[in-house]
Symmetry: C2
Subunit: 340 residues, 2 copies
DNA sequence: CCTGGCACTCTGTCCGTGCGAGTGCCAGAC
DNA sequence: GTCTGGCACTCGCACGGACAGAGTGCCAGG
């Protein structure tokens, strides 16, 4: 049907214009700025249909039309070709991320990069512990009856926990314990580390059993707890852009939700590596995110995502551009972590 | 002079009323809400003098008076008795901070606590590396020609760096290297670690010299670089409070400055443990902070501060309350880090 | 099925007015 | 000499009506 074709084209034009100008867009302006080949009157008819179908709405009886969440959804699903990044942008990504000295640095640079590229709030999740493998376990006695357990994963993440232990631990036991733990856990995915504990306890020399049990318990606790996953957030200044038109009254709850982290982490847990996931406005269960859209994707070179990253912004955002940026950055971060 | 006494009292009353209501305060309201013992007319005369001296100003010809930065300064320096915390608040601090599992957790809780207590943006600096002592150094071979150096300080901070090294390193050399490094650096303040390097190089067995040199270089680099000090920020949602009256147009630069971290870190570097430092409005050199006030203090049990923490908010803030909260939290964090 | 024209509706803005808050000053009281 | 009550004055702001502009829906004609 040429009809439906053109109607979709009209919707696309409305979304594009509204995203760039933030003004409700009328039929006349639409006819001028786009080569739709028809007159404003015809466009008006199409717009009436689109409105009836729920894709657009008019804020006031006689203002232009504005896309609804449903309209953006259709736009994202069917209309937008993923915009390739400019070579300048590609170079910016490389320049920005190369030269990072450790994981913290990589993720810090990533979030700044993403915020700058998209001019939105950027969110990067630390590599999920349960999908990372143990590279090394370090045990240090920090006081009488107190050990510090340091976990280094293959993604470069470092976690530490204090473990209480009996005060009569022999200083010589620590290196033994370290060797034992490393031979048992090195290379093991943390998600599966729990299974190794019983075997380890059996083979451990009797005088170390108590220690091993205490340390293993802490280790498993640390990784089973998914809320321990961390989040880096940047570019919140972008929320206050444009004279605060976008999030006039809802800025505070949104900032609170971002600081809460839990909300965002839950959303991040659903990402797949390679597939960009877009959540628009009301599609977000959490109330504070009702007026916002999320563009997320998993990063990580292998099959399952190591973690997620993405951007948060107004529903009125440049979806194709942001999707492209998020995907490109995720890909690069994945490579970076794989080779380190 | 009873005169000057009362004028200061008037200033205090103006500051208090303005802080709590955010409305310019007039002579009549002042006479009603405070027991100044004089009539509005007299207060008007005092206000005229205060205005001439630059402590207050009127936004419009016929509105009430508003304190200037200079007025707040006088208020802070001479008028405000430090408000003791309520016992509920003291308990909140303990409940909030006890049970932290590691340094990251301690600082995360601290920043949330401070933000909640003061309803402002809270800022907490990681313990400065150069003033921390080495508790343990860990070396792990992560790939051919690549070592991971993990530094654990006595404040619980963990830093990691990748060190490139010749590809022909013997696996057996790593434990040797670890032992050597630890015996040389354990207990040494990082600020003085550089001095130890030459001696270490001399005593090191020849086949390890290259490695030791590379690792030591990285170590010294890491700690000499003061910009590597980290910052945790929380409660930015509080900036958007009160219908955005306080930072209407300046919100964005302020958020940017906070994310920049460098600006705040520089300010933090001046703190002393125990002495609460207040910077008001224009006193802040950085432009984005011109409309804001900072209340900062150093934490750390000993003589020199391990790091700083504080809050950022509008000049129109509850100085006595925030100063008390910041000081109490810093004291508690200091204890917490000392005993771990 | 598209197009041009037309009447209609609504919002945002501008302007003028009135009100209220607050001041500054002055003359008189303590 | 200092404080007080009174009074005239100055503005800012909120309210309300008029106006212009943008955009629509509908209809008749191509």
């Amino acid at each position: 049907m040429a009809h439906d074709e053109r109607r979709l084209e009209v919707l696309r034009a409305i979304v594009q214009d509204f995203v760039s100008t933030n003004d409700p867009v009328g039929s006349k302006a639409l006819a001028e700025r786009h080569d739709l080949g028809v007159s404003p009157a015809t466009i008006r008819n199409d717009m009436a249909v689109l409105e009836e179908q729920g894709y657009i709405t008019q804020p006031h009886t006689s203002a232009g039309r504005v896309p609804t969440d449903k309209g953006y959804r259709l736009f994202v699903d069917r209309l937008s070709a993923v915009k390739p990044l400019s070579s300048a942008e590609r170079r910016a990504i490389e320049r920005f991320l190369d030269g990072a000295v450790d994981l913290h640095d990589v993720l810090g640079r990533t979030v700044r990069l993403l915020a700058q590229l998209t001019r939105q709030v950027a969110v990067v999740q630390y590599p999920t512990l349960s999908r990372s493998a143990v590279r090394h376990l370090e045990v240090v006695q920090v006081a009488v009856g107190r050990l510090l357990l340091v976990l280094i994963t293959d993604t470069g993440r470092v976690e530490q926990r204090v473990v209480d232990c009996p005060p009569d631990v022999d200083a010589a036991a620590v290196p033994e314990l370290r060797a034992l733990l490393n031979s048992a856990f090195a290379g093991v995915k943390l998600g599966e580390a729990g299974d190794k504990v019983p075997g380890l306890l059996e083979t451990a020399p009797p005088h170390l059993r108590g220690l091993v049990a205490a340390v293993s318990a802490t280790l498993v606790e640390t990784l089973v707890e998914p809320s321990e996953d961390r989040l880096v957030i940047g570019g919140t200044a972008n929320l206050a852009r444009g004279a605060g038109t976008d999030f006039s009254g809802t800025l505070r709850p949104l900032l609170e939700a971002l600081e809460e982290q839990v909300v965002v982490l839950r959303l991040m847990s659903e990402v797949d590596a390679g597939t960009v996931l877009v959540r628009i406005g009301e599609e977000n269960a959490h109330e504070a995110l009702t007026g916002a859209s999320l563009v997320t994707v998993g990063y990580g070179s292998g099959d399952r995502a190591l973690g997620g990253l993405g951007v948060v912004g107004p529903t009125r955002m440049d979806y194709p551009g942001n999707m492209a940026a998020v995907r490109a950055v995720a890909r690069y971060v994945g490579h970076l972590l794989a080779e380190s």
